[in-house]
């Protein structure tokens, strides 16, 4: 019985969850239209307001930088771009310094809204129904660089106003919704906050290390990246089911289109004799729950990862330490490099349209 409910629930809500993004609610069937346009989020430098969005066309293999600025008569985002969430044709660009959420039309990148929100260090967003849930770090306590007042802001997407705030742990990063529940990664703590969005009751799932992001696999297990590996959480029982130690994982993950393979960014241990730390992409099989022994892709200074589930392409970004324009590399699902392109400052995330 449990299994039937689980698979029914899953097929209804299956979404391909990729780092920093979530696709439109899809059918999960074979006829998913190919999304050959890739939005690349360039974070920009801290406090400099030079975050931007680039657009990569998989068909022509060309990149266009600053597409939002170009689509809006030169009016740039003017902030550090933390993440983008895509829902029903709207892109929600979550920004810091100034802290704000820009709504853009995903078809032509034109601005739809720039509501006054008074958010404090917003990070990631998810949408359930007509409500947006935004993880917010809250203000720093500069005495010891802690974040004691983090919260989840609840936005009414019709009125575009903040209507509520929910409690969570310190430094919430990834936020993920399935069924009636929100999962929030408290990245300065070793637990996840789970909130029932109907009665707003909440509970915590304790982990052994600090969580970052979530990704849902084909069996309905939510995989949580933590500073020392992965945890599996059963999305029905909301209980921890698996844990896997992966050394030097840096919390960035991306699920493939089938929900069977999870791609992880990892960094080789620091070696003072080298001028960089080799980065690699490793593959976790969610069915067998095993991690590939060898790296699928190796390179330098990888910063972000994405997977286009409709065209089976792996995207890896290289931030170049935010010292200038960054780069993205495009691979097929076997790890063969197909293309590389120059972006703007600090490319970190990918959204497909």
């Amino acid at each position: 019985m449990n299994k039937i409910i689980k698979s029914a629930a899953f097929s209804a809500i299956f979404v391909t969850v990729l780092l920093f993004s979530s696709c439109d609610t899809g059918n999960g069937g074979d006829e998913i239209p190919k999304k050959t346009g890739v939005l690349i989020l360039n974070e920009g430098n801290f406090g400099s307001g030079n975050g931007s969005i680039s657009f990569y066309d998989e068909k022509s293999m060309t990149i266009t930088n600053n597409v939002v600025q170009s689509a809006n008569g030169g009016s740039e985002i003017g902030a550090t771009v933390q993440s983008i969430y895509q829902h029903d044709g709207v892109g929600y660009i979550v920004c810091n310094g100034p802290d704000k959420i820009e709504f853009i039309n995903m078809d032509d990148f034109s601005y739809l809204a720039n509501p006054e929100t008074n958010l404090s260090q917003p990070r990631y967003m998810t949408v359930v129904g007509n409500k947006g849930y935004i993880t917010c770090w809250g203000p720093w306590d500069f005495n010891d660089w802690t974040l004691p007042d983090s919260y989840i802001a609840v936005m009414d997407l019709n009125t575009k106003t903040i209507v509520d705030s929910l409690e969570c742990g310190s430094a919430p990063e990834g936020i993920f919704s399935i069924g009636d529940y929100l999962y929030i990664a408290n990245s300065f703590e070793t637990n996840i906050t789970v909130v029932n969005i109907n009665d707003l009751s909440s509970s915590k799932i304790n982990l052994a290390s600090m969580p970052e992001q979530f990704s849902l696999d084909a069996s309905g297990t939510i995989w949580v990246s933590v500073s020392s590996g992965l945890y599996g959480i059963n999305s029905m029982s909301r209980e921890k089911t698996d844990s896997l130690l992966v050394s030097n994982i840096d919390g960035k993950i991306a699920m493939d289109g089938t929900g069977e393979k999870l791609y992880l960014l990892a960094v080789e241990p620091w070696d003072p004799n080298k001028t960089n730390s080799a980065s690699e992409v490793r593959v976790f099989d969610t069915k067998t729950k095993t991690l590939s022994m060898t790296a699928l892709i190796t390179g330098e200074d990888f910063y972000g990862i994405g997977y286009n589930g409709t065209t089976n392409k792996i995207y890896v970004s290289d931030s170049k330490a935010f010292s200038g324009p960054g780069q993205i590399y495009v691979y097929d699902d076997q790890g063969v490099k197909l293309d590389e392109q120059i972006t703007s400052v600090g490319p970190s995330g990918f959204v497909y349209k």
Binding site: N45, S48, E76, G78, N118, D141, N143, T275, A321
Partner: protein
């Protein structure tokens, strides 16, 4: 509290000395030292001295204002009167050494100086040396070096100046300069207080194309400074100088422009406090000069009223200059520093000793041809600094009223990694090497007097490589410093000035221009897209012109400065537009007996140009400044 007691004691000591000095009636031979001691060992480098008229006009300003208006050096200012970083010949802010009394003011933790925290009011002289000079000045002098000083005037009597400025955006400056002396002992006191609300308006265009006037928030500035000097000729051939400079510089950190009128502009704030105490002793022998000093520097920074960064250092310098015959001068010496940092991310018991030894030669080869050979070695724990040699030479061609000086220099310079680079948490690295600079420069200076016309024209060309440039980059979630970048800089600087008398006055016309190409040769990693591009925030072109007329007791000055396009951090996609700023100054002097009163009005950014120095940081439009000065002379 301890500091206050120390200051008070020092003050009392000064007054005590002065009282004692005034009782004695002495006549001493004049001890005159012209120029800064290092200048005779850098005959091949371009050295620019502050014009006292310009310095006086900028009396309430900062070193950033001086550099922007009087040199071709670029100052990157992150908002109005906010963090100002210098870029000499395409290098970074930590590639410039800023000296006061042989103390490098650069922060030991960050490696650079905020030029908006150096008030001009405290100093009589500013000497700007272009190009590498580590052989003379040690670490950091890769792109250039700046020397702030006040020479003893050996005043007999007293001179007191009061200054009060009122400017736009709540700009209030009050200052006092007081010199008292008997020809043998003198006390020089400088005190100022400056407040700036900085609530200027700027215009934004929102998402639907509507324009709004926005009042800048969170950009206030409050600076207080005291400089007390006591200079004495303690014997016929020795001098003693005691100096205390205390500064408190608070500023809110101006945030970037808003993108909609309702957006909040909250921000951070920073408070810098510094205390610098120096005692200098010089003894003049018949064939040599012994110079020694001992100093104490306390640098304190408080970020958002919580995070504290503090360093204390004790510095000692000793050198001897031998004058051998008419043609040879050799100077040799060294210094030692003991540093105690207090930074939350450093090891608690961290202390450091470092030291330099150096030798310099000035040799006259032929009449009008001199050559300098200099070398310096710095010793720092856990990191290697190279021996920095330099060869420098000048040749003077003189013909009646024409003086043409050719000069040239080859120099190796270096920068020691900062405390942050070496000791920050577990990421700081004690295996970093120093940054290395190699520079070559050629130039000439023409001074020509044709009847009443004086022409001064200077040309400098340079070529420089800065290697092992330290940059931080992530390895996993931790960032660490590496010796990564390599930069090639080359360019030309022109300075010209023409002065001639008009009836009842003087006309002074000037122009300056710099072309600087600074190309990244090696970046963060092998395929760094920035390689081959001009460095961010390094203009290819800068120029400035000025015209000053003095007519009887009236002064009229117009100047204009152009800063060419700079690339933003994204050197491929982001261009920050060029800007031209024009300022007008009118001043009038009134003498009443020995008293001198002057009133001065300035219109800054006369053309009301809307511009940004650093992308997205608003800058003020046309604004005004009125200065009142009252000078009492009792000589």
């Amino acid at each position: 509290m301890k500091i206050r007691i120390a200051l008070f004691t020092f003050w009392m000591l000064c007054i005590g000395f002065l009282a004692k000095a005034q009782i004695e009636t002495v006549t001493l031979e004049e001890i005159v030292v012209k120029g800064l001691p290092f200048e005779k060992f850098s005959s091949g480098s371009k050295i620019q001295k502050a014009d006292s008229v310009n310095l006086e006009l900028l009396g309430q300003g900062t070193l950033a204002d001086y550099m922007q208006q009087n040199t071709t050096v670029y100052i990157k200012e992150q908002g109005n009167k906010m963090l100002a970083s210098v870029s000499f010949r395409g290098t970074g802010s930590s590639h410039t050494a800023v000296f006061w009394s042989d103390i490098n003011l650069n922060s030991l933790t960050l490696g650079s100086t905020d030029f908006n925290e150096i008030p001009l009011f405290l100093f009589d002289d500013i000497t700007v040396q272009y190009g590498g000079a580590s052989s003379l000045h040690g670490s950091d002098a890769i792109g250039g070096s700046i020397h702030l000083s006040s020479s003893p005037s050996w005043i007999k009597g007293s001179k007191i100046q009061f200054r009060q400025d009122f400017g736009s955006y709540g700009n209030l400056f009050s200052g006092v300069k007081m010199d008292i002396g008997n020809g043998r002992w003198e006390s020089k006191t400088r005190i100022f207080n400056r407040m700036l609300k900085n609530n200027f308006n700027y215009t934004i265009t929102d998402r639907i194309g509507d324009k709004y006037e926005i009042e800048q928030q969170n950009a206030g500035v409050h600076n207080v400074g005291v400089l007390q000097e006591l200079n004495g000729k303690i014997t016929k051939n020795s001098t003693l100088s005691m100096k205390a400079w205390m500064g408190s510089n608070y500023h809110q950190i101006q945030p970037i422009e808003v993108s909609s009128p309702g957006q909040l502009q909250t921000g951070d704030e920073i408070l810098d406090k510094n205390l610098r105490l120096v005692t200098e002793y010089e003894h003049f022998f018949s064939k040599g000069i012994l110079s020694s000093s001992i100093g104490y520097v306390w640098d304190y920074q408080l970020f958002n009223d919580a995070e504290r960064i503090e360093t204390k250092r004790t510095v000692a310098n000793l050198s001897y200059e031998w004058i051998i015959g008419d043609k040879t001068t050799i100077k040799s010496g060294g210094n030692a520093q003991y540093i105690v940092p207090k930074v939350w991310s450093y090891r608690e018991d961290l202390t450091e000793w470092r030291g330099d030894v150096f030798i310099s030669l000035n040799q006259v080869l032929m009449k009008n041809w001199q050559i300098n050979l200099n070398a310096r070695q710095t010793f720092v724990p856990f990191t290697t600094a190279p021996i920095a040699p330099s060869i420098s030479s000048s040749y003077l061609l003189q013909k009646e009223d024409l003086k043409l000086t050719f000069r040239g220099q080859l120099e190796r310079s270096y920068r020691i990694p900062t405390f942050n680079d070496r000791y920050w948490g577990e990421q700081g690295r004690n295996d970093l090497s120093s940054e290395n600079g190699y520079s070559m420069e050629l130039g000439h200076n023409l001074e020509w007097i044709i009847s009443d016309y004086t022409i001064d024209f200077d040309v400098a060309t340079y070529y420089m490589i800065v290697d092992d440039w330290i940059a931080w980059k992530p390895s996993g979630s931790l960032w660490r410093p590496y010796n990564l970048k390599k930069v090639k800089a080359s360019g030309v600087e022109l300075n010209g000035k023409l002065t001639f008398p008009i009836s009842h006055g003087l006309l002074d016309l000037g122009a300056m221009y710099a072309y600087n190409k600074s190309i990244l040769l090696e970046g963060i990693s092998e395929n760094d897209p920035s390689v081959g591009f001009q460095l961010p925030y390094t203009p290819l072109n800068r120029f400035g012109i000025h015209a000053n007329i003095t007519y009887k007791k009236l002064f009229l000055g117009v100047n204009a400065f152009y800063t060419g396009m700079r690339y933003g951090i994204d050197v491929i996609n982001e261009e920050v537009p060029d800007f031209l700023l024009t300022n007008i100054t009118v001043s009038k002097n009134i003498h009443v007996g020995k008293q001198n009163f002057s009133i001065e009005g300035q219109v800054l950014n006369v053309l009301d140009v809307s511009y940004q120095n650093v992308n997205r940081y608003a800058m003020p439009g046309r604004n005004f400044l009125i200065s009142l000065k009252f000078l009492i002379n009792n000589k």
